[in-house]
């Protein structure tokens, strides 16, 4: 019990700092983006689990030989007013912290979902008024703007891919096809769920290196996954050219018409961050995508893929096992 909490605390620390730093510097994720994505998810889940688990196990130590027995005694104290004298200050502190952290994580996940959905709905409303349907099939619309822009707005059956006039003018038909396939891959592979989960993860624990590194890595990995889908039907040269044209065009800052604050949306303070261009995260994504396409490395060998998968499974199994198994054995 005692050692379990220390082990989980160490695991949480390792997953919060050195492991994500090493993984974000590694070069193999570009050779196996899907496996890397699985590993990042395992790191995030195992990290959260061992953080909460460590505090829980430490706090319950005096009142139970294992987690399940401890939780049962705790339930007795909470529900039936049994004496809590067995628990010292630090035990109660750890238990409260575990409860707060769990609530914080779940709440942030939900809050992030609501925020993202609200912004998407607003965006969709405006698109319905401003964009016109395109010839490239249902779910694709064109917006009148000179910057070459392509993006998709996920939303289940109402997902929409948006292209700008500037993009249609700048790209050859094959390049445009590559862009559309890329965006549709985001939608069909449900990358929005990954973006949501890791945005919430970062929002919840912004001061942990792991959450920032994970979000940056995931943003970059989903682009690689979508590129790989585009490469199944379009040539590498076409895709590189499309990326280069769009990237070189979109570096220009967007002109803002009218003073800020004219529209209702600008009234909330967080929106002021919209005017800032160039987050610290994204630029490397484009560079790494292009270099990955320009000088391709062979995909990761099957044995190493299996190793990554096994490591991910272990990461999830070890904290879960440590928390639950002693309860069944005892």
């Amino acid at each position: 019990m005692f050692w379990t909490s220390y082990f989980l605390a160490v695991l949480a620390l390792v997953l919060a700092w050195p492991v994500p730093v090493l993984l974000s510097r590694a070069e193999w994720p570009a050779r196996a983006p899907f496996m890397a994505m699985v590993l990042w998810q395992a790191i995030a889940l195992a990290g959260g689990l061992s953080m909460i688990g460590a505090m829980l196990v430490y706090g319950l130590e005096p009142i139970g030989d294992n987690l399940i027995a401890g939780l049962r005694s705790l339930a007795g104290m909470v529900l039936h007013n049994e004496p809590t004298t067995a628990l010292g200050f630090w035990h109660l502190f750890a238990l409260s912290a575990a409860a707060l952290l769990s609530a914080h994580l779940v709440f942030t996940l939900l809050l992030t979902y609501v925020k993202i959905e609200r912004q998407r709905r607003r965006h969709r409303e405006l698109l319905a008024l401003l964009a016109s349907p395109s010839d490239d099939g249902p779910g694709t619309v064109v917006i009148n703007h000179e910057s070459p822009v392509a993006y998709c707005l996920p939303g289940g059956a109402r997902s929409v891919t948006v292209l700008s006039d500037g993009l249609m003018a700048a790209l050859e038909p094959a390049e445009l096809r590559a862009v559309l396939i890329h965006e549709n891959a985001h939608l069909s592979q449900r990358h929005d769920l990954l973006l949501w989960a890791f945005a919430a993860w970062r929002q919840a624990l912004p001061w942990f290196p792991t959450t920032r590194l994970a979000q940056v890595a995931v943003n970059s990995l989903i682009e690689m996954l979508a590129d790989d889908v585009a490469l199944r039907t379009e040539s590498k040269g076409t895709l590189i050219k499309a990326i280069a044209i769009v990237a070189s065009g979109s570096a220009r800052p967007v002109e803002r018409f009218g003073p800020p604050g004219t529209s209702e949306r600008d009234s909330s303070p967080e929106d002021s961050s919209l005017s800032g261009t160039g987050g610290a995260d994204s630029p490397r994504t484009t560079a790494s995508r292009v270099s990955r396409l320009l000088s391709p490395k062979p995909p990761l060998p099957a044995a190493q893929r299996a190793l990554v998968l096994a490591a991910s499974a272990m990461l999830l199994a070890v904290p879960t096992g440590l928390l639950i198994v002693p309860g069944f054995l005892g």
Binding site: I143, Y151, P154, A199, Q215, S248, D281
Partner: protein, 128 residues
């Protein structure tokens, strides 16, 4: 009957094109003119378009914060809160801007690019 979505779009188009605020009656007449002018077959918005429908559309647009009503006058006169170009710029800001809390809203083909990186890419393009 045209869907409310189509009508919202048509009403916004009129308000964005017009210089000054318009009443629901005026908008109804303009909508009737438009559909008569474009085609007779699908002229479903024609004369049978009721002013109350236009008012419904306007109140929906008002709720979305796209249209505002002039207070004090009767009948009420409506106008767009901001121009079409303004709204487009807003959308493009969301699409091109990279505020961290916006990252998850949409998936761009290209994330934000630094000026130096763009220059490198332009050079690359020149070589092709």
């Amino acid at each position: 009957m045209a869907s409310l979505g189509e009508l919202e779009r048509a009403v916004m188009d009129l308000l964005w094109a017009g210089q000054e605020a318009a009443t629901a009656n005026k908008l109804r007449d303009l909508l009737a003119q438009d559909s008569a002018a474009t085609d007779g077959i699908a002229g479903h918005q024609g004369k049978d378009l009721a002013v109350t429908t236009v008012l419904t559309v306007l109140s929906r647009l008002e709720k979305k914060g796209l249209v505002e009503r002039e207070r004090g006058t009767r009948p009420h006169r409506y106008q767009a809160v901001s121009s079409r170009a303004d709204h487009t710029a807003d959308l493009m800001h969301e699409a091109l801007g990279s505020a961290p809390d916006r990252e998850a809203v949409l998936a761009r083909f290209i994330g934000s690019v630094s000026e130096s990186e763009a220059a490198t890419l332009r050079k690359l393009l020149g070589k092709n």
